[in-house]
Symmetry: none
Subunit: 207 residues, 4 copies
C-alpha cells in the first residue's frame, strides 16, 4: 500500500507495459502497433493500459522518458569513468551509445525511427530527456573547448547535434541490416575518427 501510493506498482505492471510497448513499437511502428497488441504482450487487459497512461501518445512519451533516463544515466557514467581529455570522454560517449544500441536493438529502433515521427513528440513535447542527452554531449565539447583541447569552430550545441546525427544514422543503418552487415560497436571508431580528426588526410606536426 505504501509502495503503491508512491506511484510504484508493486506488481511492476507499468514496466511490463512499457517493455511490451517497446517491442510492439519496434516491430510495427507507433501507428502500426495496436493497444490490444501491447496489452497482450504485457499480459494485461486493454483497459489496464489506461490506468497507467493517459493515452497512446502518453505511452510513447512515457516510454521515451523511461528509456532515456537509463540511457542518459549510462552515458553519463561512461563519460564520468573516462577521466581525462575531452577526446577520451567523447570516445567513451560514442562507444557507450553504440553499445547500448547493440544491446537493446528494439529500444534503438524506436528511438531512431519512431520517435521522430509525430508532431506530437517532436513539435509539442519538449523532450526534456533528449535535451539532457544533448546537454551531456555538448557539455563535454564545451569543456574541451574551454580547456583548449577542442576547436571552437563549431558551437557545442551544434557539434552535439552533428555527433548525435552521425550516431543515429549509423545505428539506423545497422538496425535496418538486422545487425548483420557490420559491427556497430567497432563502428564507434569511425564516428570518433571523423568527428574528432576529420576525413582529411592530416599532415600532423612533425617532430
Amino acid at each position: 500500500m505504501a509502495a503503491q501510493s508512491a506511484g510504484v506498482s508493486t506488481s511492476g505492471k507499468r514496466e511490463r507495459i512499457l517493455a511490451a510497448a517497446e517491442m510492439c513499437f519496434a516491430e510495427a511502428g507507433f501507428f502500426g502497433a495496436k493497444i490490444a497488441d501491447i496489452a497482450n504482450a504485457a499480459g494485461v487487459a486493454d483497459g489496464t493500459i489506461y490506468l497507467y497512461f493517459r493515452n497512446k501518445d502518453d505511452l510513447l512519451i512515457s516510454w521515451f522518458e523511461w528509456r532515456m533516463e537509463e540511457v542518459v544515466a549510462r552515458l553519463a557514467a561512461a563519460v564520468a569513468d573516462a577521466a581525462g581529455s575531452a577526446e577520451t570522454k567523447l570516445t567513451a560517449f560514442v562507444r557507450a551509445y553504440l553499445t547500448l544500441t547493440s544491446e537493446n536493438p528494439a529500444a534503438a529502433e524506436v528511438l531512431t525511427v519512431e520517435l521522430r515521427q509525430s508532431s506530437k513528440f517532436i513539435k509539442e513535447y519538449k523532450n526534456p530527456r533528449f535535451a539532457d542527452f544533448l546537454k551531456l554531449l555538448s557539455g563535454v565539447i564545451e569543456e574541451g573547448q574551454k580547456r583548449g583541447e577542442l576547436s571552437r569552430a563549431v558551437p557545442p550545441a551544434h557539434a552535439a547535434r552533428i555527433i548525435f546525427g552521425a550516431l543515429d544514422e549509423l545505428a539506423r543503418s545497422w538496425l535496418l541490416g538486422g545487425g548483420q552487415k557490420f559491427d556497430i560497436v567497432r563502428a564507434a571508431d569511425w564516428v570518433v575518427s571523423m568527428t574528432l580528426s576529420g576525413l582529411v588526410q592530416q599532415k600532423r606536426s612533425t617532430p
Copy 2:
C-alpha cells in the same frame, strides 16, 4: 490538344497531387494527413488521387521518388561544378544539401521525419533514390581516398552515412526551430569542419 494526345494529362495533376501531399505530410505527418486533405489541397476529388497512385503508401513512395530525383540531380550538379579536391566537392555537397533544405522546408520535413517511419518505406521499400543519394556522397569520398586526399580510416559507405546523419540531424533541428534559431546554410561549414578536419584542435605542421 496535341500534347494531350500523349496520354499524359497536360494539367499536371500528378504534380499537383504530389505537391499537395508534400505539404500535408509535412504539416500532419503521413498518418495524420488525410487523403481528403491532400485532394482538397490539390484541388481534385478524393478519387482522382487513385487515378495516379495505387494507395496512400504509393503516394508517399512516389513523392519520395519524385522529390529525390531532383535532390540527387541538384547535388550531383553541385558536386560536378566543384572541380578540384574531394574536400571542395564535399563542401559543395553539404552546402547544396542544406541550401535545398532551406529552400524547401516542407520537402525537407517529410524527408527527415516521415521517411524514417519503418514498415512500408525503410523495411519493405528498397529506396533506390536514397541509395543514389548515398552513392553520390560515398563516390566522392572513395575518389578522395584513392587520390590520397582523404584518410582511409572510415569506409566510404559509412563515412557517407555519417555525413548524411549529421546533415539530416542539423536539418531536423533547424526545421523544428521553424528555421529561426540559426542559419542552416551557414551551418554547412560546421558539418564540413567537423567531418573533414574534426573537432580536435589541430597542431598543424608549422614551418
Copy 3:
C-alpha cells in the same frame, strides 16, 4: 454471473445480430443491406458486429449455418415422425419445408434469393448445412428405392435437387406475392402430387 463466466455473452448479442441481419438481408438483399442498418436493427454499435463476425460475408455464412441448423433439425424431426412409407416421409418433408417458409418468410427470402449469389457462398463456401439438407431428402428417396416403394428412374441426389428446386421456386413465387396469392402450405400437396405421382393422368391398375 455464473453464466457469464462461460465466456458467452448472456445478452444473446450474436443472435440479435443474426436476426437483424436476416431482416435486413431479406429487405434489401446482401449487398443492399448496410452494416450500419444491421447494427441499428440489432441495437448494437457497428463495431460490435465485428466482435462476433469476421466481416459481412462471414455474417451471411454464419446466418446461414445458424438458420439451416434449425431448418434441417425440424425437417429431420418431421421425417422421423412420419413413420411408414417413403411417400409419407416425403410428404412430411415437403409440408414441413413450406410450413417453415410460411412461418418465417424473412428467413425464406434470404435462403431463396440471397444465398444463390455466387462468389462467396456457392462457389467458395462449401455449404455443409445445405449438403445436410439435401442428404436428408435424398436419404429418404434412396431408402424408398431400396424398399421398392419408389422408382429407380432418377438417382436420389438428383431427385432431391429436383424436389428442392420445386419447393424453392414455389416458396419464391409465394414470397414475391407477399404471401397473398395462394396458400403456401396447401401448395405442398401440388409438389407432392407432381413429384410422386406426376402430372400424367394415371390409368391406375384396375382389379
Copy 4:
C-alpha cells in the same frame, strides 16, 4: 441514319455490350462486375455503355429481355415442333431448356443465379419475358389438362413454377459443378420422369 434512328446501332455495339455484360455477370455476379470490366470486355469506353443503357440495373434488365426473348422463342419452337400430346410437348420443352443451358452456360449462370438477387428485378421489375416463359409452359399444361391428358390436381401456373424450379435447380447444380459431374441434357429425362410420372413405383394397368 435510318437504321440508327430505329434504335438499332449499325455497329452492333449494343449487342457487344450485352454479351460482355453476360460474361462479366456470370463470372463475378451483378454486384461484383464493374462497369469498367464490361466496357473493357465489350471494347468500348465506360461512358459508351450509358449511351445504350440508363444505368447498371437497366443493363441487367436489358440483358434479360434480350436473352429471354431468344430463349422463349427457341422453347416455343421446340414445343411447336413437338406435335402431339402434352407429354411430348413438355418433354420437348424440358430438353430444349437444358440444351440451352448446356450451350450457353454463361447465360444460364446469370439467369439462374444473378437474376433472383435484387429487389430491383424481381420485386419492382414486372419481368414480362419471364411471364412469357411461364405462360408457354403453363399453356402446354393447361391444354393437356383440357384434353384430359394431364391430371388437374395441380393448377397450370403452379405446375409450371414447379417444373421451372426443378429445371433451374438442376441447371444450377450442373453449373456449380463446372458442367462436369453429369450430363445436363440427359438429366432432362429425370425432370420429365418425375414431373410427368412421379417417383412412386407405378402399378401400371395390366393388359
